[in-house]
C-alpha cells in the first residue's frame, strides 16, 4: 500500500527549482576473503556457512585487515583521481542492529584512505560533466535480515526475522561525491550516468562484480531542491534500495517531483532516509527514528593505523589498467568511429562486449552488428541488459568464425546463437546438436536442384530462356528442402549451371 503522494509536473519543477545531487555508492570488493577474516567472500551459499568467530563477532575474536582490500581501495582512489592518505585508521560506528554481529561497524570515518578526486561522466548526448569525489573509504558489510510473515518483506509487520551472516564482513568501499549542483533538468540522467561510469571503472579495475541486482554495487541517492528565487540549499533526502541504473534515474526524478510538491504546498521537506520501490517507481519514508542517531565513532583500537608508503602508492598507480574513457578514445581512433557511432555503442552497453569479441578473434565490423542488432533485440525481448545475456563475446567470435569459414550461413549462425542463449551449450555444441552444418556436398545440392527444377518445369524453362531472376524461386525451394542448411549462393550457381 502506497499512500497517495502529490507530485509536481517535471517541467514545472525545473522552472522553479535547481536540484542538488549527492551520490553514495557502496561497492562490494570481490577479494577472495572477507575484510577482517579468512572466510570466503562469495555471493549466495547456504546461510551462515561462510562464517567464523571473527565475522560472527564472537567474544574474544579480533579483526585483521585484508591487505588485498586496502590495495583495491587505493586503486579505486587512484582511478578516481584521489589523494591517498599517508596515514589513516578504521573507526567503530556504534549502533544496534541484529544483522551486525558486533553491534558496531568497523568503518573508516574522518580518515578515509582516498579523498578529493573526480570522475568525468559522459551523458547520452556526449556532454561531459565532472563529478567531484569527496572520499572513498573502507568498511565492512553487514549480514542480511530476512523478515518473514509481513506483506512487504520489510521489518514492519514481520512475524520473525532470519539472519544470514555470510555477507557480514565482506569488504565494502563507499564512494561519496561532493554536492553536484547545476545539473538542472538533467539531474536524473547525471545520476544514472555517474553510477554507470563508476560501474564501468570498477569493472575495468577488476575489483568488484559490480552487480546492482546482487547488491555488489549499491547506490544511495541524496536529492534536495534549491528554490531559484532564493538559491538557498534545500533539505535533502537519502533514497536507498536503488537496485538498477534505471532506478537511479527514476528515484532522483521521483524525489524531485515529490519534494517540489511538498514545498509548493507550503510544507517542509523532512530530512530522512527513503526507500525506493521498484514496481511503483516511488519512494517512501524509512522507519522513523525516535532519537537522533549518534554513532559514537572512535578509532578502532583492535586495528593498527594504515600508512601506505608512497612507493606502494606509485606501484599501484602503475597497475591501473586502461580506464574506460582511455579505452574509448583508443577504440574510436583504431576503428575509425564517428562520435555518434561510438556514443551509440556506449549507450547500448555494447562497446566492451564488442571489444571483447574482437579480442577473441573477430573483426570490429563483424562483431558490431551482432551486438547492436541481433543480440540487442534478444536482450530487449528477454528484458535484460545486453551484458546479462547468457552468451560470451568469445562465443560470438566463434560463431563469426564459423560463418567466415563457410560452416554456417548467416541464418544458421543466428540459430546457433539462439541455441547458446537457450543454454544448449557453446556454438560448436549447438551446431552439432541442432544439425546446423551447411550442406556443402555439391552432389546432394545438385540432386535437390534437379528435383526442384522437375517440380517447377515452367520456372525451369524461364531460366533456360535467360530470365535469370526466376532462379530465385528454385533457390528458395532448395533452401526449403535443405531446411536452410545450404549456402544460397552456391545453390544459385548450381541452378544456373543446370539451366545453361
Amino acid at each position: 500500500m502506497t499512500a497517495l503522494v502529490e507530485l509536481m509536473d517535471y517541467d514545472e519543477v525545473i522552472e522553479k527549482y535547481d536540484p542538488v545531487l549527492g551520490l553514495e555508492v557502496h561497492v562490494e570488493l570481490h577479494t577472495n576473503t572477507k575484510m577482517f577474516c579468512g572466510c570466503a567472500n562469495v555471493f549466495g551459499g547456504e546461510p551462515n556457512t561462510n562464517t567464523c568467530p571473527i565475522c560472527l563477532g564472537l567474544p574474544g575474536a579480533l579483526p585483521v585487515v585484508n591487505a588485498k582490500a586496502i590495495e583495491s581501495a587505493m586503486r579505486i582512489g587512484l582511478a578516481l583521481n584521489c589523494e591517498i592518505a599517508e596515514w589513516c585508521r578504521f573507526a567503530r560506528k556504534n549502533y544496534f542492529y541484529p544483522d551486525m554481529p558486533k553491534n558496531f561497524q568497523t568503518s573508516q570515518y574522518d580518515e578515509p584512505i582516498a579523498f578529493n578526486g573526480w570522475l568525468d561522466v559522459t551523458l547520452d548526448d556526449g556532454e561531459v560533466i565532472r563529478v567531484e569525489i569527496e572520499r572513498a573509504h573502507m568498511e565492512e558489510d553487514t549480514g542480511k535480515s530476512l523478515h518473514v510473515g509481513g506483506a512487504t518483506g520489510r521489518i514492519h509487520g514481520a512475524e520473525h526475522s532470519l539472519l544470514d551472516y555470510n555477507r557480514a564482513g565482506v569488504p565494502l568501499i563507499e564512494i561519496v561525491t561532493k554536492m553536484i549542483p547545476g545539473t538542472k533538468e538533467r539531474a536524473p540522467e547525471v545520476a544514472r550516468a555517474y553510477v554507470t561510469a563508476l560501474r564501468d571503472l570498477l569493472k575495468a579495475l577488476d575489483v568488484s562484480d559490480v552487480r546492482m541486482d546482487q547488491g555488489s554495487l549499491r547506490c544511495d541517492a541524496n536529492v534536495s531542491l534549491s528554490p531559484k528565487t532564493t538559491g538557498a540549499l534545500g533539505t535533502r533526502t537519502e533514497t536507498k534500495n536503488v537496485n538498477s541504473l534505471r532506478s537511479v534515474e527514476r528515484a532522483v526524478r521521483f524525489e524531485m517531483t515529490r519534494q517540489a510538491a511538498v514545498l509548493e504546498s507550503g510544507g517542509e521537506v523532512t530530512q530522512e532516509t527513503r526507500h525506493f520501490d521498484e514496481s511503483s517507481g516511488s519512494t517512501s519514508p524509512g522507519r522513523k527514528k525516535e532519537t537522533a542517531e549518534d554513532y559514537r565513532y572512535f578509532p578502532e583500537p583492535d586495528l593498527v593505523p594504515i600508512a601506505p608508503s608512497r612507493e606502494w602508492v606509485e606501484e599501484l598507480r602503475l597497475t591501473l589498467p586502461e580506464l574506460p574513457w582511455e579505452r574509448r578514445a583508443r577504440i574510436q581512433k583504431d576503428w575509425n568511429l564517428t562520435d555518434e557511432v561510438l556514443r551509440d555503442l556506449v549507450n547500448a552497453g555494447a562497446l566492451d562486449l564488442i571489444i571483447a569479441t574482437v579480442e577473441a578473434g573477430a573483426k570490429p565490423d563483424e562483431a558490431r552488428p551482432w551486438w547492436v542488432s541481433y543480440l540487442a533485440q534478444q536482450a530487449n525481448t528477454r528484458g535484460v541488459e545486453l551484458t546479462d545475456l547468457p552468451i560470451t563475446p568469445a562465443q560470438v567470435a566463434r560463431v563469426i568464425e564459423l560463418v567466415n569459414t563457410g560452416a554456417l550461413t548467416n541464418k544458421l549462425a543466428r540459430e546457433a546463437v539462439n541455441g547458446v542463449l537457450e543454454g544448449e551449450g557453446g556454438p560448436d555444441e549447438v551446431v552439432e546438436k541442432r544439425g546446423l552444418k551447411v550442406v556443402s556436398d555439391d552432389s546432394a545440392l545438385e540432386k535437390a536442384v534437379d528435383e526442384a527444377l522437375a517440380a517447377q518445369p515452367d520456372v525451369a524453362q524461364k531460366i533456360r530462356d535467360g530470365k535469370v531472376q526466376a532462379a530465385g524461386a528454385i533457390v528458395g525451394a532448395v533452401m526449403k528442402a535443405t531446411k536452410g542448411q545450404a549456402d544460397a549462393a552456391r545453390v544459385r550457381e548450381i541452378v544456373l549451371a543446370r539451366c545453361s
Binding site: P101, R296, P301
Partner: protein
C-alpha cells in the same frame, strides 16, 4: 607427598615430571584434590575441568614415557582466568550474560598452553568482564583471599591469584587492563606480570578495553612466571596489535637475577606513588624493599612523573568508552543469555531485557559512562582529552627511562580490604589501581612481586617494577634478585 606436590614451584614440578620421578597425572590429581578440599572456602574457580586436565596430563605422561622432548612446562597444572575462550569449555567472563556459552574456539593463549602440554585445571573467578579490583563484581559470587577469608583477593583476576596463594595451582593466567594481574598478585602475596602491550596475543581474550587489555603470567615465584611468560608470548597474526618481535628473554633474565647482583642498575622511585592514602604498613614494606635493592648494588633515586596524577581519570574515560562498544555484541541474538523472547516482544525489547538482566551494576555503570563519553559533543572533552593524557603519561615514562633502567612503586596503596568494605564506594575501589594504571596507558610492562607482609595487618604487600616497552626481561632480573634477597615470608593456612 600431596603436600609436597602442591607446595612445589612449577619449575620443580616440571623437572620431576620430565624426569619421570612423578607423573603429571599425580601432580594434576593432587591439585584437583586441593581444589576440592579448599575451594568451598576460597571460590577461586568457576569451572573445574577434571576430565580435560587429566586427559592432558595423561598425554604428557605418555610423551615423557616415550622419551619425547616435551616443552619446559609440560605436565604442570595451571588455572586459567575465565576471560580466555576455551573450546567446548564454559567461558563466562564472570557474567550472567555468557552463562552456558561454550566457545567454538580456543584463545591463542589457550592454544599455546595446550600445545606446550600445560594442564588447564579450570577457569577462575573474576570481576564481571574484568571490571573491578576485588572480584566482588563476579556474577557468581566473590573469591576470598586465602590469607584472610574475610578479605578480597584483588581483582579483576582474584580467582587466578587466590588459586596460587591457596596452592590450588602453581601457575595461572590473568589479564591486566588497569592492574587486574598486579593488584591481585600484591594482595595475595603472589607474582603477577603485565607484559608489554602486544607481547601476548589478545585473540580469544574477551575484550574489556582493547587498547589496555593484556594477558600475562601469574605464579608464586619469579622464575615460574618467566617460564609461563615464554609459553604464552609471541607474535600472533590473528591479533593486529600483536608485536612482531622476538619474545624478551625473560627466563634467562630471571635466572641471571637469582645470582643476586644488581650493581650498576639504575632504579627510579616514582614520587607520585607515596604519601597520603598509602597505608603505613605498605609504605614500610616498600622502604624495606628499597633498602634491599640498594644492598644488591642498585643505584636508587627519586623520579617524578607528574602526569601519573591524571592516569586514573584518563583510564576511567578510555576503558569505559571502549567497553561500551566492546560489550555491545552481547545482545541475545547469537549466543549467551536471552530474556523475554516470548514471541510478543520486538528485537530491541529482547536485547534490552537481556542486557538488563545479564549485566551487573558495575558493568552497566561503565557502559553508561563510556556511552556518554563517546557521544557527539562530548567526545573531545572526554575521550579526546583522555587520549592526550595518555600521550603525556607515555612521555613521562620515556623521560624517566632516560635516567633509569626500571621504575618502582608499591603495587597498591593498601593491603587487601574487607569484602564489602568498598562495594558501595566506586571511587575508593578505583583507587586500588592508582599505581598500576600508568603502565596500561603507556603499554609498557610492569609486574608485582611480593615484598612480604604488612606489619600492621599481616597481609601481603606487593612491589611494582616497571620497565620500558619490550624490556620485560629487565624487571624479571630485578624481581628475581629481590625475591632471593627477600626470602620466604610464609603462606596462608587454610
Amino acid at each position: 607427598m600431596t603436600n609436597d606436590l602442591i607446595h612445589a614451584t612449577a619449575a620443580e614440578l616440571a623437572a620431576k615430571i620430565h624426569s619421570g620421578e612423578v607423573s603429571s597425572v599425580e601432580v594434576t590429581q593432587a591439585h584437583l584434590d586441593r581444589i576440592a578440599e579448599t575451594d568451598g572456602k576460597v571460590h577461586a574457580f568457576l569451572h573445574v575441568d577434571t576430565e580435560g586436565a587429566l586427559a592432558q596430563a595423561r598425554r604428557v605422561d605418555e610423551a615423557v614415557k616415550a622419551g619425547e622432548q616435551v616443552s619446559p612446562l609440560a605436565g604442570v597444572p595451571l588455572a586459567l582466568k575465565d576471560v580466555m575462550t576455551t573450546e567446548g569449555v564454559p567461558t563466562t567472563v564472570g557474567s550472567k550474560i555468557l552463562e552456558g556459552w561454550l566457545p567454538p574456539y580456543d584463545a591463542t593463549v589457550t592454544r599455546k598452553l595446550k600445545e606446550a602440554g600445560v594442564v588447564i585445571l579450570g577457569k577462575t573467578n573474576m570481576d564481571e568482564f574484568a571490571m573491578g579490583s576485588s572480584t566482588e563484581n563476579s556474577a557468581y559470587g566473590p573469591t576470598h583471599n586465602p590469607w584472610d577469608l574475610d578479605r578480597i583477593p584483588g581483582g579483576s583476576g582474584g580467582g587466578s591469584s587466590a588459586s596460587l596463594a591457596a596452592f590450588q595451582a602453581p601457575l595461572a593466567i590473568g589479564t591486566d587492563t588497569g592492574g587486574s594481574i598486579r593488584q591481585p598478585g600484591a594482595v595475595t602475596g603472589t607474582v603477577g606480570v603485565k607484559p608489554t602491550y602486544g607481547g601476548v596475543s589478545r585473540y580469544g581474550l574477551v575484550a574489556f578495553s582493547s587498547s589496555l587489555d593484556q594477558a600475562g603470567p601469574c605464579a608464586r615465584t619469579v622464575l615460574d612466571a618467566a617460564l609461563l611468560h615464554e609459553v604464552i608470548a609471541g607474535y600472533d597474526h590473528m591479533d593486529s596489535t600483536s608485536i612482531n618481535a622476538p619474545v624478551p628473554p625473560v627466563v634467562a633474565a630471571a635466572r641471571e637475577g637469582l645470582s643476586g647482583d644488581l650493581s650498576g642498575l639504575r632504579i627510579g622511585v616514582v614520587t607520585q606513588f607515596s604519601g597520603e592514602g598509602y597505608q603505613q604498613g605498605v609504605a614500610r614494606s616498600f622502604e624495606a624493599a628499597v633498602s634491599q635493592l640498594k644492598e644488591l648494588g642498585a643505584e636508587i633515586a627519586d623520579v617524578s612523573c607528574p602526569s601519573f596524577d591524571y592516569a586514573l581519570p584518563a583510564y576511567y574515560l578510555i576503558a569505559p568508552s571502549e567497553c561500551s562498544s566492546n560489550l555491545a555484541r552481547f545482545d541475545a541474538m547469537r549466543y549467551g543469555l536471552r530474556v523475554g523472547d516470548d514471541g510478543t516482544r520486538s528485537t530491541e525489547e529482547v536485547m534490552s531485557l537481556t542486557r538488563e538482566a545479564g549485566f551487573g551494576p558495575e558493568v552497566k555503570r561503565r557502559i553508561m559512562i563510556g556511552t556518554y563519553a563517546l557521544s557527539s559533543g562530548y567526545y573531545d572533552a572526554y575521550y579526546g582529552s583522555a587520549q592526550k593524557v595518555r600521550t603525556l603519561i607515555t612521555q613521562d615514562f620515556a623521560k624517566a627511562f632516560e635516567n633509569f633502567d626500571v621504575l618502582i612503586s608499591p603495587t597498591t596503596p593498601t593491603t587487601a580490604f574487607k569484602i564489602g568494605e568498598r562495594a558501595n564506594d566506586p571511587m575508593a575501589m578505583y583507587k586500588a589501581d592508582l599505581c598500576t594504571i600508568p603502565a596500561n596507558l603507556a603499554g609498557t610492562p610492569a609486574m608485582s612481586v611480593p615484598s612480604g607482609l604488612s606489619d600492621e595487618d599481616g597481609m601481603p604487600v606487593g612491589l611494582q617494577i616497571m620497565a620500558p616497552a619490550l624490556q620485560d626481561h629487565r624487571m624479571y632480573r630485578v624481581a628475581a634478585a629481590y625475591e632471593a634477597a627477600r626470602g620466604a615470608f610464609g603462606g596462608p593456612s587454610l
